[in-house]
């Protein structure tokens, strides 16, 4: 066993920390629920692209450096520690599209998309969920019909979060309505400016914008079909494997904020910190934070050893999102009446970070695979229990 990073990994961490400190250090944390956040975040991602950091783990022939997933993990962890959210659907191109194209894309697709993704000139919006296809993604209904050199697509997507600014839609649609539902789905890369696409904005409890997306006879060239027709569900599922790097940098910031507030705020003449019940809660969170960090490191290590994590990713998804809720709960209870104040209010604690955390935490255990589905995966894939439902 060895729980240290290599000298090179540590050096890279220093470099990444330096970069993020320069980019966001000092300034108040960017507010991901704010519209102004998108251009700022995209600018930062472009600067990451300039350094080749978005594609480190890609093969050299596609502009990467064949770096170990550990580096990508370190980058994301430092990013989260700096206060930049790692969620929100940013860099879907680099996280999901690029690796999928490298494996299944045509030469033309690779030549066209990969350099743009690497430099963050473009990004993609995930186009999976539909009103009737949430946890049960395979039941999606949006239909693509072949017509000469094109597919004609009609239907509705739901909660496609970055559609209002991403250049492309990474779209799952039904191409064979007669096949078993998992086997009639294909993936397309659709230019968001295509005629026939309309968006209806919707706002999450956290204030973040998401969209209902309507396709009305949208024509997409066949050259934008990803891999083989009707294998889209499989590609989409395996693409998730590239996403199995978790970190608890954000959680560390949240716990830090709680501790700082407790150690600097007096109530009835006593520091909040001096409440033993709160101290014990914080101690438990600190233990969990460290333990989760190790599990995150472990997955990154496994991936660097080419061991593909399976249920471990589900288990980390559940644990990190539920831990987020526990932290939020401690924070909210600690704040008392101040906990009801929102960003922008006089007297709001932590520049609104606590309230924002309360709203975001509601999403954490649902988006990206609800905890219930993840527990099913742990039980069936991880423990080999028979599928029941």
């Amino acid at each position: 066993m060895d729980f240290t990073f290599t000298k090179e990994e540590r050096r890279f961490r220093e470099e990444a920390r330096g970069f993020f400190t320069a980019e966001v250090g000092g300034a108040p944390p960017l507010d991901p629920e704010n519209e102004a956040f998108v251009p700022k975040m995209r600018a930062i991602l472009r600067r990451l692209g300039e350094r080749g950091w978005l594609t480190m783990t890609w093969p050299k022939e596609y502009g990467g450096t064949d770096a170990s997933p550990m580096y990508r993990f370190i980058l994301l962890e430092e990013m989260a520690l700096s206060g930049l959210t790692s969620s929100g659907g940013f860099n879907t191109g680099g996280r999901i599209v690029g690796p999928t194209l490298i494996q299944y894309g045509t030469k033309e697709q690779k030549d066209f998309f990969l350099p743009k993704i690497a430099k963050y000139e473009i990004d993609f919006a995930l186009g999976y969920t539909e009103p009737e296809a949430g946890s049960d993604l395979a039941s999606l209904k949006m239909l693509a019909v072949e017509d000469g050199d094109e597919f004609v697509i009609t239907g509705q997507k739901m909660y496609n979060t970055t559609c209002h600014w991403a250049e492309y839609h990474w779209l799952a649609v039904r191409t064979d309505p007669k096949a078993p539902k998992h086997k009639g789905i294909s993936l397309f890369m659709v230019d968001m400016k295509s005629p026939g696409i309309t968006l209806t904005p919707m706002y999450a409890v956290s204030g973040a914008r998401t969209n209902a997306v309507f396709y009305d006879n949208v024509r997409v060239p066949k050259s934008r079909l990803v891999g083989d027709k009707n294998k889209g569900f499989y590609y989409a599922s395996t693409a998730l494997a590239y996403e199995r790097i978790f970190n608890v940098g954000m959680h560390a910031r949240m716990l830090h904020n709680i501790i700082t507030y407790a150690q600097t705020t007096k109530r009835q003449g006593k520091l909040l910190w001096d409440e033993p019940a709160l101290q014990r809660e914080i101690a438990r969170h600190a233990a969990k934070l460290r333990a989760l960090r190790l599990l995150c490191y472990k997955i990154a290590w496994q991936m660097s050893k080419k061991i593909m994590p399976s249920y471990e990713a589900s288990s980390l998804k559940v644990m990190t999102s539920e831990f987020e809720k526990e932290l939020v709960h401690t924070g909210m209870e600690m704040l008392g009446h101040y906990g009801e104040l929102e960003a922008g209010s006089k007297h709001v604690p932590g520049e609104g970070a606590f309230a924002q955390g309360y709203h975001s935490a509601a999403l954490a255990t649902i988006t990206g695979g609800a905890s219930e589905i993840q527990r099913n995966v742990i039980a069936t894939r991880g423990l080999g229990l028979p599928r029941g439902d």
């Binding site: 969920t129 009737e132 296809a133 949430g134 946890s135 049960d136 039941s139 739901m158 909660y159 919707m202 706002y203 999450a204 409890v205 998401t210 109530r267 009835q268 003449g269 019940a277 809720k325 709960h329 909210m332 209870e333 008392g336 009446h337 101040y338 906990g339 009801e340 104040l341 929102e342 960003a343 922008g344 209010s345 006089k346 007297h347 709001v348 309230a355 309360y358 509601a362 999403l363 255990t365 649902i366 988006t367 609800a370 905890s371 219930e372 527990r375 439902d389």
Partner: protein, 376 residues
Amino acid sequence: MDYSFTEQQQMLKKAARDFLAARCDKAFIDRIIKTEDGFDKGMWKEMAELGWQGLMIPEEHGGTGGDFLDLCALLEETGKSLLPAPLFSTTVLGATAILLGGTKTQQSRFLPKIASGDSVFTMALLEKEGTYAEAAIKLEAHTTKDGYTLSGTKLFVAYGGSADYLICAARIGTSISLFIVDAKAKGITHTPLVVMSGEKKYELQFSNVAVPHDRLLGEKDRGWHLVEEVLERAAVAKCAEMLGGMQHVLDFTIDYVKRRVQFGRPIGSFQAVQHHCANIVMGIELARGITWEAAWRISKGMPASMEAAMAKQLANEAYLRTTALAHQVHGGIGLIREHPLHLYYREARTSAYAFGDTAHNADRVAASIAAGAAIW
């Protein structure tokens, strides 16, 4: 032993449900909570005609002479609909304080105006510390020949911007006195706070605000005792309101999981969803009985501080858990603002602070036990 509402209470509740179903939908709430007042004045008058503001006010003062339990029964309904209006602050805080502590003159003067819907009341209690503790009251009252002048800052004052009168707790030396203050009096500065739920809250800064002698509420220097009596009622009434909210969330959640199909079957047939729903039910049941016992005890004039503190703990826990689990079974649809769930989720959070958070009420129960109170 009788766990049911009287026929009259059931009629009151039914009428309230009908009125609110017709008048207080999500579009109404979304619109009203963005207004400066935070409530609809026309509707406020209609509520008065329905007898809501005067429910607990004796007939001689223009009310209908109901009791505290009746009011809680009504608040359970307004809690279901998240009615955005100063009904709680006017009746549970304002009318209660005047009923408990007011002189005959004060009662004759203010209660009819409450009952008729002419006056909106609220309480200006919390200050910088944000806690319901006597020592946290720093706003000072100084004696003048005509009465008093008040100086200091109040926080989290519900409808502090639209109220006509404030029940204000002020310090004179080492003890607390209460005053009925004109909310628009010279020297009061109103700053709206941005809060999670629909109830408008304000910071009120008092700078030498003159208050005449006849506005002292209750005995001088014994104000904190009166505050505690009001807070006990407010905690229980809040529990009733919360019960309505959580029950309504349960109702529309059950409705949804019966209809929503995933993996070829209604999601309500999945054991995980079923157990989440069962857990919501149990949380609500636990909070419900003790809330009504506390309300009943208060309406009978029996001691109820232990019951109130217990009820608030359990209601806080239940409402928060109800909305969290409801989110979980709703999935995506529950996470967008077009859906009503997020309003309840916000209400659960702010209600959990109102009139004592969970820790505050646990500490009160523990203090009672330490002082020898029986747990059975």
